[in-house]
C-alpha cells in the first residue's frame, strides 16, 4: 500500500532530470576548505597545525562534547592555512585549508569494493566507530548521529525509518545512492537495527523512484528486519514528522522528538555512511551531491570530497551563464542561496542548483485574497496567513498560541500563495520573535 501523510502537502514540479545519471567521481580540486563545524552543536577542536602532512581519513578536529562531530581530511596533502573564511552564505567559519598532493588513504581504511555483510561488533563498538567517523544527519539537519542512536533511559524504539524520500525538486543524490549502493544501505540499516535493539527497519521511498524501490526491495528480501515502504510523491513527504505519520500513523507531539513515539529516522546517506564507517573503517569524508538546475548545462550526480569548492563542481557542469540568477545549496524549497561560490561542499550539501530568473522569479507581493490555499498546504495544520498577520503586527503571544513554533519551515505556504506573500519569512521571523520574548 502506498502511504502518505494526511495533513496538507503540495505537488511542485519534480525536475528530476539527473535521475538516470550514474554517480561519477568529481575528482580532486587543488585545495579543499574543511570547516570545523559541519553539524549542529559545538565546533570540533582542531588537532592539526599549519604545515602538517595529512592523508585521506586523517582526523583533523576532534568532537568537543556530546553534541559535536569529528572532522576528517578528505584529501592527502599539506595543511596550508587554518583561518576564518566566509562560507557559502557569507558567514565567517573556521576552516582548515589543505593543498592536495596525490591521493593517499589512511592504512586502516578498506578501499575495496567488496560488500561486507557480517557485523562482528558489539553495540558499544559500533557506536564508538560511528562517533569516530564524524557521522551526522546528512539529510540537511546535521544532527550528530551517535546522539540520535543513543536511546534515553525509559524510551523504547519500535521503528527505524530510513528516509529515502528526497522530496525536494531537482535533487537525485539519495535516489542514485539507493540504486547503486542498495545492499550497503540495507546492511547499514541492519547495523542501526542492532544498536536500537529492534528488527524493524523500514526504507521509505517515494513512488517517483521506481528503480530504487525495485532494487532495494529485491535486496531486502534476503535480509531479515529490513523492509521497503512505498510512499506517495508529495512535498514534504521526506520531513521527519510527515514520514513518521505516513508510515506508523503516529504523530510526534508538539515540542517532542521522534523517539517519544518510538521512531528513529535516518537519511539513506547517513545509513550508507554508517555502513562504511563500521564495516569499511571509512570516516565521513565524501558525499553524493546533485549539481543540476534549469541553467546547468551538464547536470550530474557527483561523489564529492568534503571541502571541495562549489565552483569546482559548477565548472565541471558547464559553469554559470549570463542567465544564472541563483545558486542554491540544497533544494529549491528549503535550500539557501549561495553568495560565495568558492565555499566548500560540507556534510550537509545535498545539491548545488543553478537556477535562472524564470525559475526563481518572485513577483511583487499583493494583498491576501483569503483563498485558504496556505491553510490547505501546511503539513502541520497551521494557518500561515494568520502567522503573517500576527508577525507583521508583532503579536507575539498570539503567534505562540497558534503553534508557530511547530512550523517545520518547509515553504509549502509561500510556494502556493497566489498573492506571493512571503509566508515562510513571516513564519521564521515569528519564531525568532517568540524565542526572543521567551529569553526575556
Amino acid at each position: 500500500m502506498i502511504k502518505t501523510f494526511s495533513i496538507g502537502g503540495i505537488h511542485p514540479d519534480k525536475h528530476k532530470i539527473t535521475a538516470h545519471n550514474p554517480i561519477i567521481d568529481a575528482g580532486l580540486p587543488e585545495y579543499v576548505y574543511i570547516p570545523i563545524k559541519q553539524h549542529i552543536g559545538t565546533p570540533a577542536k582542531i588537532l592539526v597545525k599549519q604545515g602538517d602532512k595529512v592523508k585521506v581519513g586523517t582526523l583533523l578536529a576532534d568532537s568537543d562534547g556530546i553534541v559535536s562531530a569529528d572532522i576528517h581530511s578528505s584529501v592527502s596533502g599539506e595543511v596550508v592555512k587554518i583561518d576564518n573564511i566566509p562560507d557559502a552564505f557569507g558567514y565567517d567559519e573556521k576552516m582548515i585549508v589543505i593543498k592536495v598532493e596525490g591521493d593517499e588513504f589512511e592504512a586502516s581504511i578498506d578501499t575495496s569494493s567488496d560488500i561486507v555483510k557480517d557485523i562482528p561488533f558489539s553495540v558499544d563498538e559500533i557506536i564508538q566507530k560511528i562517533r569516530e567517523s564524524g557521522i551526522v544527519g546528512m539529510g540537511g539537519a546535521g544532527f550528530p548521529t551517535p546522539v540520535k542512536t543513543t536511546i534515553p533511559e525509559g524510551k523504547k524504539v519500535d521503528f527505524l525509518i530510513v528516509n529515502g524520500i528526497e522530496c525536494e525538486p531537482w535533487l537525485t543524490a539519495d535516489d542514485r545512492l539507493m540504486i547503486e549502493k542498495a545492499e550497503e544501505i540495507v546492511v547499514g540499516a541492519k547495523i542501526l537495527n542492532k544498536i536500537l535493539g529492534i528488527q524493524n527497519a523500514i526504507v521509505a521511498i517515494d513512488e517517483n523512484k521506481p528503480e530504487a524501490i525495485e532494487v532495494v526491495r529485491n535486496i531486502t528480501r534476503r535480509y531479515v528486519g529490513v523492509n521497503v515502504c512505498e510512499c506517495q510523491t508529495k512535498y514534504p513527504q521526506g520531513g521527519e514528522k510527515q514520514l513518521i505519520s505516513a508510515i506508523t500513523g503516529r504523530e510526534v507531539p508538539s515540542g517532542k522528538l521522534p523517539i517519544d513515539v518510538g521512531c528513529v529516522v535516518q537519511n539513506v546517506g547517513t545509513v550508507f555512511a554508517v555502513y562504511e564507517a563500521v564495516l569499511k573503517n571509512k570516516p565521513l569524508f565524501e558525499r553524493i551531491v546533485t549539481v543540476s538546475g534549469d541553467d546547468c548545462a551538464q547536470p550530474q550526480n557527483f561523489r564529492v570530497r568534503l571541502g571541495t569548492p562549489a565552483s569546482f563542481l559548477i565548472d565541471k557542469c558547464g559553469g554559470l551563464t549570463q542567465k544564472t540568477a541563483e545558486v542554491i545549496f540544497g533544494g529549491p524549497m528549503m535550500g539557501h542561496t549561495v553568495i560565495n561560490l568558492q565555499a566548500p561542499i560540507t556534510k550537509l550539501t545535498s545539491g548545488v542548483l543553478l537556477l535562472s530568473e524564470k525559475e526563481t522569479h518572485r513577483p511583487d507581493m499583493m494583498d491576501c485574497i483569503r483563498c485558504g490555499k496556505c491553510v490547505d498546504a501546511c503539513p502541520i495544520g497551521l494557518r500561515p496567513f494568520l502567522i503573517g498577520v500576527y508577525t507583521r503586527n508583532n503579536m507575539i503571544d498570539e503567534l505562540k498560541d497558534i503553534h508557530t513554533m511547530d512550523c517545520i519551515e518547509c515553504g509549502s505556504c509561500a510556494y502556493i500563495c497566489p498573492a506571493r506573500i512571503p509566508l515562510l519569512d513571516y513564519c521564521k521571523l515569528g519564531k525568532i520573535e517568540i524565542r526572543k520574548k521567551q529569553k526575556g
Binding site: I7, P12, S254, P332, R370, R420, D425
Partner: protein
C-alpha cells in the same frame, strides 16, 4: 549577477491574476447561454455591468485613494459578470450602474478592496437593486433564441415564482388553478439547459456546471462548498417531499432552478467571503443550504440564495475563529 533570496526558490504558477482570469473563463459558458436565450438585452446588461464595475473601481482607486490601479487583477470583471448574472435581461441600464456602484464602491472598496470585503460584492449590488427596484428586478423575460434583437419581448414567471404562487394560492383558490400553474413549470431538461425565465446567469445549470468543472480542474476552488451547499438543499427538499408529497418541495426542481447553482458554484466559493479551512467551508456551505431552504419555503420571497449567502458571509469571521485545521501533534479527536 547572482541574487540572494530566502526560501522557497520556486513558486506555484497559480497567482492571483491567473486565478481570477480562470473565474472569468469559467463564467463564459453561462454568459453565452444568457445571450443565446435572452438576446441583445442580455449582452447589453452584461457588458454594461462589467464596464461599470471596472469604471467604479478605477475611479475609486485613482481619484479617491490615489493609488496604483487594481483593475488589472480581473476581480472587478468577475464582480461585473456576477452582478449581471443576477439581473433580469430587461433591467434598465442606469439601474445596473447603481448596482455596480453598490457592489464595487460600497461592498468592496470601502472595506479595503480585494480580499478584505466581508460581503460578496455582486450579491450586495443585487440585493440593493432588488429592494430598491422590486418591479424591474422581478420582470422575467421569456427565453427566445429566434429573436436576438428582442423585437418581441414576452414575460414569463420563474419556476420558483410559480411554486411560491402555489403556496399562496393553495388554500384560497381552486384545485384546477393549481394544476394549471404546475403545468407552467418547465421540465427538467428545459431547466437544465436554461430554457426558463430567470436572471441572466442562473438559468442554465449545464453552463454553470461546465464552469464549475473548469474551476475544479484548475484548482481554483475545492469541491467542498458547492457539494455541501447543493447536498444540504437536496437532502432537505427530498425529506420534505417524501414526508408531505407536496409538489412545491420537488427536490430536482429546486436544485435546477433559481440562483442555487450560480450561488453554490460561483458566489459561495468567493475567496474573500468564505471560510479558509475545509471544516469552516463545510459549515458555511451547510449554513447556506439551510438558510436557502428556510427562505425559499417560509419567507415571502420565492428565492433565497442571495440572502442566504450574504447572511452566512457575516458569520465567516466567527467560523474562521472556531474552525481551523488540527495542528499536527496536538492529539487526535
Amino acid at each position: 549577477m547572482l541574487k540572494v533570496a530566502t526560501a522557497p526558490h520556486m513558486f506555484s504558477p497559480l497567482d492571483t491574476k491567473r486565478l481570477m482570469r480562470d473565474v472569468v473563463i469559467a463564467l463564459m459558458p453561462a454568459a453565452v447561454v444568457a445571450v443565446f436565450f435572452f438576446g441583445l438585452n442580455a449582452l447589453t446588461v452584461i457588458l454594461t455591468s462589467v464596464a461599470a464595475c471596472v469604471m467604479w473601481e478605477y475611479l475609486f482607486v485613482h481619484y479617491l485613494l490615489k493609488q496604483k490601479s487594481t483593475i488589472n487583477n480581473y476581480s472587478a470583471i468577475i464582480t461585473g459578470m456576477l452582478l449581471a448574472f443576477n439581473l433580469p435581461a430587461t433591467m434598465p441600464l442606469w439601474m445596473v450602474l447603481i448596482g455596480a456602484f453598490m457592489a464595487i464602491v460600497v461592498a468592496k472598496m470601502a472595506f479595503g478592496g480585494l480580499g478584505k470585503n466581508i460581503f460578496n460584492p455582486a450579491l450586495v449590488g443585487r440585493v440593493f437593486l432588488f429592494i430598491s427596484f422590486p418591479v424591474q428586478m422581478t420582470m422575467w423575460m421569456k427565453p427566445n433564441w429566434h429573436d436576438f434583437f428582442n423585437t418581441d419581448v414576452q414575460t414569463a414567471a420563474t419556476t420558483l415564482g410559480i411554486l411560491k404562487h402555489l403556496d399562496a394560492s393553495s388554500s384560497a383558490t381552486s384545485l384546477t388553478h393549481e394544476v394549471e400553474a404546475v403545468h407552467d413549470i418547465p421540465n427538467y431538461l428545459q431547466m437544465f439547459v436554461g430554457y426558463t425565465g430567470g436572471s441572466l446567469g442562473e438559468v442554465s445549470a449545464l453552463a454553470l456546471l461546465v464552469g464549475g468543472a473548469y474551476l475544479l480542474l484548475r484548482r481554483v476552488i475545492t469541491w467542498h462548498v458547492p457539494f455541501y451547499y447543493l447536498a444540504t438543499m437536496l437532502i432537505l427538499t427530498s425529506a420534505m417531499w417524501l414526508l408531505t408529497d407536496d409538489v412545491r418541495y420537488e427536490p430536482l426542481t429546486h436544485l435546477l432552478s433559481g440562483g442555487l447553482m450560480l450561488g453554490a458554484i460561483f458566489m459561495a466559493t468567493d475567496y474573500a467571503t468564505s471560510p479558509m479551512s475545509v471544516k469552516g467551508k463545510i459549515i458555511f456551505a451547510i449554513g447556506c443550504g439551510l438558510l436557502t431552504f428556510i427562505i425559499r419555503f417560509y419567507s415571502a420571497y420565492p428565492e433565497g440564495v442571495s440572502f442566504a449567502i450574504l447572511i452566512m458571509n457575516a458569520f465567516v469571521p466567527l467560523i474562521d475563529k472556531f474552525y481551523y485545521p488540527r495542528v499536527y501533534g496536538t492529539g487526535r479527536k
